[in-house]
């Protein structure tokens, strides 16, 4: 038992691996006489025992072996991480371990608030220091809560961020482990970080500081004052002041971002002598550890406490060649997300709508070739700008869903780690609204024999004016990047729409999935876990997540509308090149179209040689593994979507197989029995819409559209995330 938990003062050199980098550094600091918080370490032995006893190690292996890491999108990593986290949450700590930990922690901390931090083995080695990959929790009170948070920290060994840096971390399913630091909380008056060496200038050091606790600085929600110092002399080179508006203070269990009182806002958190004291101590730490340090510290009643010290991190947050820094920045705090929401709702989305309208108003067919070429180039540039905004603001905003999911899973421990998605779904998603209108139109077709006959005969004779007007309204409201609304004039019913309406009319849905009451009950069950101020925050988070979820659609549709106008212009360019007698017009990239229109030649690219393989061996894929994205089991004929036209061929009961569903495609979803998508993740549109309609769905199936052919008999197992293609092993035989 005593081996499981070690007080800081008992830690020796041989314990280095068992206590992890952060804890070992604390032990070294304590030994050297620095003031550090009272700390005990729950060693890696306890993690190892826990995962061995519960079978979790093998389950983690199963989860992470679904797909080659290189083929996983960041969202898929997040999903894998969420599922693993839920495994940790749902497995209780076996009684003997639990009892042992409880006894020790109770006698050590009783009801004093603590900080529970990760301390991963090996993270203190120079060059392998990564800040913020694993979780830490501030102001945890009571033994049960501490034990709970120890589990969260264990789970964060497999956080999405850690999975991104798996190679650098040497993350290994069989051997990786996690120690946990439990320490008294130091409620500092001013806090900050110190870099003994400025990453961008080796002759300088940097100190950043905020009023209150450090969390606001670390997660980016509070802007710090910043001092640049001369490493050699310790002299202050510059002090960058910022508007000091907020600070992080302890609240209930946890911390809260609050308005900074005026008298504090007026002055910098540190005076010059404080800055000097911090920097001197930081340099002493550099001396003790032998490499430049990234130090977290806090002042409490004038006394300087060192919270942690580690080699300067190797992570860059630039979105350059290595995009992982950017991915990490997606882990936004609640407050950052709230600000983002305002920006998206009030500024970006309205601007996108206007942009699409402006583009639609300009008739590209009327332009001369030269002007068209210019217009195409301008539109492509514009699209690129919106696409960047989409990456910079819209995708990060989706983190609101993740943040909520984490909190929901923490308190509810659902069997299905995606249960929270159902709570978010009952919003006015544009694509659902569109599908309801489609269903109403199908209802009219069902009831009106003459109309139905007209559609079946593909004639406009017998189609009431009202119905044609409805189609016009529908088209202007929802756009059509998949051309299923394309028609010759306003008096005909579009070909694609006709096909869909007839299918829908033949197969009325037996009501949408009635999850209304169930969802309300679950939402209440979730919110009722919180009281007072916590409840208000939970409701705010819930609201934010719902907005975040809804916008996963709206932003896509808005971007889709702009895209439609951009590619409309490109298509017009291609049409003219065709008319000029161009032969390889379809192979031109959009960027090349204006070049050729202006008369400049574009050199075609040669085709790459195919990989060699044995000709006498034919390969057929029988079963593919992806991610479970919509629970359910469905069998049917595959409809593989390669071109937009394939979409309107989809028949009732077929399985939709596609590369990536975008919201503009989902008008056919009510007809499908199941969905298989190449792109992975729970927040992708295909998964969201599948859950909305209660369809079996598997996402993240590599090469889905090439391995599966239209007409194949397929079974989608949305519980386990597998797709079975019913072909017999031996040629030509159906399975019995």
């Amino acid at each position: 038992m005593m081996n499981w938990i070690i007080p800081l003062t008992d830690i020796q050199d041989k314990d280095r691996r068992r206590v992890g980098g952060k804890c070992f550094a604390l032990a070294v600091m304590a030994k050297c006489g620095f003031t550090v918080p009272f700390t005990v370490c729950v060693t890696t032995d306890v993690y190892d025992l826990f995962v061995a006893r519960t079978g979790l190690r093998e389950r983690i292996a199963l989860e992470l072996n679904r797909k080659d890491f290189h083929d996983m999108r960041w969202e898929e990593l997040w999903d894998a991480s969420l599922r693993i986290r839920n495994m940790f949450l749902r497995k209780s700590i076996p009684t003997p371990i639990y009892a042992g930990l409880k006894r020790f922690l109770e006698s050590t901390f009783n009801d004093r608030p603590v900080v529970v931090r990760s301390s991963a083995p090996g993270e203190d080695a120079p060059g392998t220091s990564f800040a913020g990959l694993h979780d830490s929790f501030v102001n945890v009170v009571g033994v049960d809560d501490i034990l709970e948070h120890i589990r969260f920290v264990w789970a964060s060994l497999w956080s999405d961020a850690a999975l991104l840096y798996r190679r650098e971390l040497g993350l290994d399913i069989a051997t990786s482990s996690m120690a946990v630091v439990v320490q008294e909380i130091i409620l500092g008056d001013q806090s900050g970080v110190a870099f003994t060496r400025n990453p961008s200038d080796r002759s300088q050091g940097v100190i950043e500081s905020v009023h209150g606790l450090n969390q606001g600085l670390v997660d980016g929600s509070v802007e710090p004052d910043r001092w640049i110092l001369d490493r050699a002399t310790g002299a202050i080179i510059s002090h960058a002041e910022v508007p000091r508006e907020r600070w992080v203070v302890p609240a209930g269990t946890g911390v809260r971002l609050d308005t900074l009182p005026e008298e504090k806002a007026e002055r910098a958190p540190l005076d010059n002598s404080d800055v000097a004291a911090v920097f001197t101590t930081a340099l002493e730490l550099e001396g003790a550890f032998g490499t430049p340090q990234d130090v977290e510290w806090t002042f409490r009643r004038g006394a300087l406490h060192i919270l942690q010290s580690r080699p300067i991190t190797a992570i860059s947050s630039d979105r350059g060649e290595d995009e992982r820094g950017w991915y990490l920045s997606l882990r936004k705090s609640y407050d950052t997300l709230r600000a983002l929401r305002t920006k998206i709702e009030n500024e970006l989305l309205p601007r996108m709508v206007k942009e699409a309208e402006r583009l639609a108003a300009r008739d590209v067919e009327a332009l001369s070739d030269d002007v068209l070429a210019e217009e195409i180039a301008r539109r492509l540039e514009l699209y690129k700008r919106w696409h960047d905004i989409y990456w910079d603001d819209f995708i990060p905003f989706a983190h609101g869903i993740r943040l909520f999911g984490q909190v929901y899973n923490n308190v509810m421990r659902p069997e299905d780690p995606y249960e929270f998605v159902d709570l978010l779904g009952d919003t006015q998603m544009v694509s659902l609204r569109r599908n309801r209108i489609l269903e109403n139109m199908a209802q009219e077709v069902r009831n009106d024999t003459a109309l139905r006959k007209a559609l079946t005969d593909r004639t406009s004779f017998g189609v009431p004016r009202d119905f044609l007007d409805e189609i016009a309204t529908f088209a202007s409201q929802f756009g059509d990047s998949f051309h299923f609304m394309a028609r010759e004039d306003n008096d005909t019913v579009p070909e694609g729409l006709t096909a869909i309406l007839l299918e829908l009319a033949d197969h009325p849905r037996e009501g949408n999935r009635t999850k209304g009451n169930d969802v309300t009950a679950r939402r209440d069950a979730f919110l009722n876990r919180f009281e007072g101020e916590e409840r208000v925050r939970a409701e705010e988070l819930f609201d934010l997540a719902r907005t975040s979820y809804r916008m996963r659609d709206d932003d896509n549709i808005c971007l889709g509308n702009i895209e439609r106008e951009v590619y409309g212009a490109v298509d017009e360019g291609r049409k003219r090149l065709h008319n000029r007698g161009g032969s390889n017009v379809e192979q031109l990239t959009p960027d090349e179209v204006p070049e050729v229109l202006r008369g400049r030649e574009v050199i075609g690219r040669g085709k790459r040689d195919n990989d060699r393989s044995l000709e006498h061996i034919a390969v057929k894929v029988l079963q593919l593994v992806g991610q479970p994205a919509g629970p359910g089991l469905a069998s049917g004929t595959a409809r593989v979507i390669v071109t937009p036209a394939d979409l309107t061929d989809l028949k009732y009961g077929e399985i939709l197989i596609c590369d990536a569903i975008d919201p503009n495609m989902t008008f056919v979803v009510p007809l499908a029995a199941g969905i298989v998508e190449r792109r992975g993740g729970m927040l992708i549109h295909g998964a969201i819409i599948a859950r909305e309609y209660g369809l079996a769905c598997v996402t993240g199936v590599a090469n889905a559209t090439t391995h599966i052919k239209t007409g194949d008999r397929v079974t989608v197992d949305g519980y386990l995330g597998i797709v079975i293609i019913d072909r017999d092993v031996r040629e030509g035989q159906e399975p019995s």
């Binding site: 519960t54 979790l56 199963l62 089991l633 197992d717 519980y719 386990l720 597998i722 092993v729 399975p735």
Partner: protein
């Protein structure tokens, strides 16, 4: 029951000494089987379709009375379809280590009998038994698309020492 000369499996060194190196009793072979089933995680399952054999690796567990072998499978798999059309199967469980010494030292048991889906009240208890051995298969075993299968063993054919073959009838 026919009992041939039979020495204990390699991991039963202690027992072999105690039993004088030979399989002398029914009890001994049962014990050897139980030990084999405890130490091995995977079995080879043979099903057939249209007279053509088909084999799979399955994670298995056994009941203490050795009458039943349990495993789980997706309901959309070929082996499941095969068992639905013909419930007769064979299952091989062995302790080979993929070295030349296996020929002399490995023990293998083939179980034959009929399979059925475990349904109703029994499912929970037998799933618990199964998961006690394979806790990491919890998601798979409890998924609605997964079937828990039991093989009612009629015979075991136990092979060791390269050529020693023992047949056990299970009533």
């Amino acid at each position: 029951m026919i009992i041939q000369r039979f020495s204990g499996p390699k991991e039963l060194v202690v027992s072999r000494r105690r039993y004088g190196g030979y399989m002398k009793s029914k009890k001994y072979i049962e014990k050897a089987l139980r030990k084999l089933f405890e130490t091995q995680y995977l079995a080879v399952l043979a099903t057939q379709s249209g007279g053509h054999p088909y084999t799979n690796l399955v994670a298995f567990a056994s009941t203490d009375d050795l009458k039943q072998l349990l495993f789980v499978t997706g309901q959309s798999t070929r082996k499941y379809a095969n068992m639905k059309s013909d419930s007769r199967v064979a299952m091989l469980i062995d302790n080979r280590s993929n070295t030349a010494s296996d020929v002399a030292e490995a023990m293998a048991a083939t179980a034959t009998g009929r399979t059925e889906d475990v349904l109703g009240d029994e499912r929970e208890a037998l799933t618990r038994l199964y998961l006690a051995k394979h806790p990491h298969l919890e998601e798979f075993a409890t998924s609605p698309s997964t079937a828990l299968i039991r093989l009612h063993v009629e015979r075991y054919y136990v092979v060791n020492r390269f050529q020693n073959v023992t047949e056990l009838h299970v009533a």
